[in-house]
């Protein structure tokens, strides 16, 4: 019995003598919700963190007070020679341990992106406690300003960016995907591009919001340009990521526009090398729902439906071509990842062009086969401007 007690107390002490070395109470954490990296002079960078302020967060405590309005986060920044340096300085000014586990958005300023982001990524990917599924953005101006802007619907900026991205309007790239792009054969990358837009709320007040509809294009790890909103959409069709967009087209011979929401999109690239000519066949199949129709067309008529579908197909093809024109030919960046397709089908031929892929890329001929099928026309049978044309339902 004595031995048993001894054993029990000994093993019990083992748990406690460890000192719970790993233990951190939640109120000893400075929870970072998003981070921004800006370029400074002399190759210095500025790391800004959006830190959650638990006291300001009304929550359940009876203190109540500042509901909404005053932010529940604080943006704090320090300059350093690299991320690690800046971070250690940041930790120096904070009384709590910086906790990366919930930092789901990282914003690089355009200046940083142009100098190359691979060194910063090295830091981010090396830390075990930084989420690889965090979203990465490039901002037009100072990245810190993105964090500082007041959010309206969401409680803080990180959350707002996250939700906006998940909605599928712009591109969505996680840290892991970015890493994969950078080390893959495409030798280029694309990241969502943030712009701050302002809108007047009243005479004095201005209302700011981040617009994520553009794309920053990278060759290797350096940003070389950006795509406009329209071209971004073309890229999204290519990458099979389109979600919340509306395609509009006017069928030939009639006035007005038909707008369609894609319900499901399927896109596929088929590479071929015929007589030394590199070609890609791009098949995009879209099922859509009509959301607005300002033409007099009646979609019960199969011929008018077909003409609308044809017009929409053309519209999709144009978008895709426009964005390819910009990226493939002007920027020579393989953001659509043709490289992987060729490598998979023609590994031998690929090896020969591997070293000058950007040049070869612009020679690749692209054929677009866009197909649009309209599955539903919504609740209206006839166009709303068709007055008493047929039976009313």
């Amino acid at each position: 019995m004595k031995k048993l007690l001894l054993l029990l107390s000994f093993s019990g002490a083992l748990f406690l003598l460890g000192g719970c070395w790993d233990r951190t109470e939640i109120n000893d954490l400075a929870i970072a919700t998003s981070a921004a990296i800006d370029q400074k002079e002399n190759d210095q960078i500025e790391l800004s963190l959006e830190i959650f302020l638990p006291k300001a967060f009304g929550g359940g405590s009876a203190q109540g007070g500042q509901a909404g309005g005053q932010g529940i986060t604080l943006v704090i920044s320090q300059t350093g020679s690299n991320m690690a340096d800046a971070l250690s300085k940041l930790q120096g000014v904070l009384p709590r341990e910086i906790f990366w586990g919930h930092c789901k958005t990282f914003v690089f300023s355009e200046a940083v992106a142009k100098k190359g982001i691979i060194d910063h990524l090295d830091f981010l990917l090396r830390q075990p406690d930084i989420r690889e599924r965090a979203y990465i953005f490039v901002s037009e101006k100072k990245a810190r300003r993105i964090l500082e802007q007041k959010t309206n619907l969401e409680p803080y900026t990180g959350q707002a960016l996250l939700e906006q991205t998940d909605f599928g309007i712009g591109m969505r790239v996680t840290m892991q995907e970015l890493d994969e792009m950078l080390v893959s054969r495409m030798q280029s990358a694309a990241l969502p591009y943030l712009k701050i837009k302002t809108q007047k709320k009243s005479e004095e007040e201005k209302f700011r919001f981040a617009d994520i509809s553009g794309v920053a294009v990278f060759r290797k790890d350096k940003m070389i340009g950006r795509l406009s909103e329209e071209r971004t959409r073309g890229l999204l069709w290519l990458r099979d990521e389109i979600k919340g967009y509306t395609v509009s087209a006017s069928p030939p011979g009639v006035n007005g526009v038909v707008s369609v929401n894609p319900v499901s999109v399927y896109s596929k690239m088929t590479p071929s090398i015929v007589d030394g000519k590199w070609r890609i066949l791009l098949t995009i199949k879209t099922d859509g729902v009509i959301v607005q129709n300002s033409t007099p067309l009646d979609f019960f008529n199969p011929t008018s439906l077909a003409s609308v579908e044809a017009a929409l197909q053309d519209s999709i093809e144009t978008r895709v071509r426009e964005s390819l024109e910009k990226t493939q030919h002007q920027m020579k960046a393989d953001v659509a990842n043709f490289a992987a397709e060729f490598y998979r089908e023609y590994p031998e031929e690929w090896k020969q062009v591997e070293n000058h892929w950007p040049e070869k890329l612009s020679e690749v001929e692209v054929e677009v086969d866009a197909r649009m099928i309209i599955r539903s026309q919504g609740n209206l049978i006839l166009p709303a401007n068709e007055k008493e044309g047929g039976e009313q339902w």
Binding site: M1, K3, L4, L7, F15, L16, G18, C20, D22, R23, T24, E25, I26, N27, L29, I31, T33, F52, P54, K55, F57, G58, G59, G60, S61, A62, I72, F99, G101, H102, K104, D129, R131, P155, Q159
Partner: protein, 530 residues
């Protein structure tokens, strides 16, 4: 190591009991009654020296023979004694019956008159409340069946109330309890063996089973374990339970105790045995599995789909009751990245002013909760409710408002408390509640790793447990896929055609297999009859 210790204990216990047996034999009057009336009375008088409640009432039988009635005040029906014994026997009669013994046994208007020949039997008869009649010139005594006991009326069981189903509960009288069982199971195959346990209390303990359903080896084993008990007194069935269970060190009950006759009968019908103890409404049932501790009698009194849903809820809340506080502590102090961001932020803001680490916070709250529960049970009912109101206010509201405890912690503790009361058997709930504390400490020191380690240890322990030799985790380990129909869900009654494996193996057939009600069944049944 534990095993060695227990062996050692058993050894010493065995030696002791032998000694006691010797002592007992010396003090117990096993001798037959003396032929002389006076000697007998003297012997009894000396045995009952200083027992003020034993009445020695001498009178003369038909005005001629000396006689004495010995009974215990309060245990015997004095009114009947006067009316049916003294009145006819003290009549001065001219012609006394030729054979006094025959007269007493056959003509006295008392339901049960037995002739006894041993002094020990006299003592037993007196102490159970049956007056003993000694007459001059008779070598034997007569035990008159005039015992009277004050019983509580049969009420709804306090610890196991139900909405649907019989509302009778056992009471403290063994005879009444047996009659309640006999009212349900009328077959003569329902057998009972009684024995007396307790050197001083001489408590009647009855082993009940249905012949042909219960495995004879199981009955024998139970009988052996009961025979092995040597204790001074049995006040409650727990005394028996602790002395006959398989693993005395386990926090889990290996014998089910219930105060519902219907539960006992259901178990008897599955080939189990019941042990009834005089003086307590709680009856023991063995062997049981962990699964049956998670079942309530009401599972079988309502529609199977509803019972299934309730069982799943029970499984879920079993996990909550055991793990929730430990997981909360582990996640909030070690693995903050596992919480959804919004949840983390609201926990963070509510923990802002709390002075204690999460593990201390949860221990304070859990211990306070246990204290409240205990206080509420022990106190008289009127004060009990006051305690719970004060406790709810202090624990729930004031401590949060004072910033001593965070609001999410109160929710965790409250939910855990409710979950532990979800267990249909009170004893299961207690062992789960107890095991929560080591898990909390493991969670607070080693994080999720500790919780998982603790949980695995519990599961391993459960796997090694046996109840009267039957595996405790059956039908899950060892896996009996056919038995899962009464564990993972509750199949309709017409599907449970066989008795559960292990306890019901001796006689598997429970019912015929065509019981599923359907439109055809009526016709088929007719055909079969024809």
């Amino acid at each position: 190591m534990i095993r060695n210790v227990s062996k050692l204990l058993k050894h010493t216990k065995g030696q002791k009991s032998k000694k006691e047996e010797i002592n007992q034999a010396a003090s117990k009057p096993q001798d037959p009654l003396y032929p002389n009336f006076n000697d007998n009375v003297e012997a009894l008088r000396s045995i009952y020296k200083d027992c003020s409640d034993v009445i020695f009432r001498s009178f003369s039988l038909f005005g001629k023979t000396r006689a004495i009635v010995i009974y215990m005040e309060g245990l015997s029906d004095v009114q009947s004694l006067e009316e049916y014994v003294f009145t006819p026997l003290t009549k001065e009669s001219t012609d006394p019956p030729s054979s006094l013994s025959d007269f007493l046994v056959h003509q006295l208007p008392v339901a049960k008159v037995t002739k006894i020949h041993l002094l020990a039997d006299c003592i037993e008869s007196i102490s159970t409340g049956n007056p003993v009649l000694l007459c001059e010139g008779q070598s034997s005594a007569f035990s008159l069946g005039l015992a009277k006991s004050e019983n509580r009326s049969i009420e709804e069981p306090m610890a196991e109330s139900s909405i649907k189903g019989p509302r009778q509960g056992f009471i403290e009288s063994l005879q009444v309890n047996i009659s309640l069982l006999r009212k349900i199971i009328k077959t003569p195959a329902f057998k009972m063996r009684s024995l007396k346990i307790g050197t001083h209390t001489q408590t009647t303990v009855t082993l009940a089973y249905i012949e042909g359903l219960a495995d004879p080896t199981l009955i024998e084993e139970a009988q052996n374990r009961l025979n092995g008990i040597d204790i001074d007194g049995v006040l409650e069935s727990e005394y028996i339970e602790e002395l006959i269970e398989d693993n005395p060190y386990s926090p889990f009950p290996q014998i089910l105790s219930t105060e519902r006759p219907d539960v006992v009968c259901a178990n008897l019908l599955e080939g189990r045995i019941a042990i009834l103890v005089d003086g307590t409404p709680f009856t023991l049932i063995a062997p049981v599995s962990f699964a049956s501790l998670l079942q309530s009698q009401e599972d079988f009194y309502q529609r199977s789909i509803i019972s299934t849903m309730i069982r799943w809820m029970r499984f879920f809340f079993l996990g909550v009751a055991l793990l929730f506080p430990a997981l909360y502590v582990a996640v909030t102090t070690f693995h903050q990245e596992m919480l959804p961001t919004a949840l983390l932020l609201s926990i963070a803001s509510s923990r802002e002013n709390v002075p204690f680490p999460a593990i201390v916070e949860v221990l304070i709250m859990e211990i306070a909760f246990e204290a409240l529960r205990e206080a509420g049970i022990r106190l008289p009912r009127q004060i009990g409710s006051a305690v719970s109101i004060v406790g709810a206010l202090v624990i729930g509201q004031a401590s949060v408002e004072a910033g001593l405890v965070s609001a999410p912690m109160v929710i965790v503790v409250a939910l855990t408390g409710v979950a532990s009361f979800m267990m249909p058997r009170y004893i299961t709930g207690i062992s789960i509640r107890m095991l929560r504390f080591p898990l909390i400490i493991l969670g607070g020191t080693l994080g999720l790793l500790g919780v998982v380690m603790g949980f695995i240890a519990i599961v391993i322990h459960l796997c090694t447990l046996r109840s009267f030799g039957e595996p405790y985790l059956a039908p899950v380990a060892p896996l009996q896929t056919k038995e899962l129909k009464d564990f993972l869900w509750r199949s309709p009654l017409w599907m449970m055609n066989r008795r559960p494996h292990l306890t019901g193996d001796y006689n598997e057939h429970r019912q015929s297999s065509h019981l599923s009600p359907n439109p055809k069944a009526g016709g088929e049944a007719k055909n079969r009859q024809e």
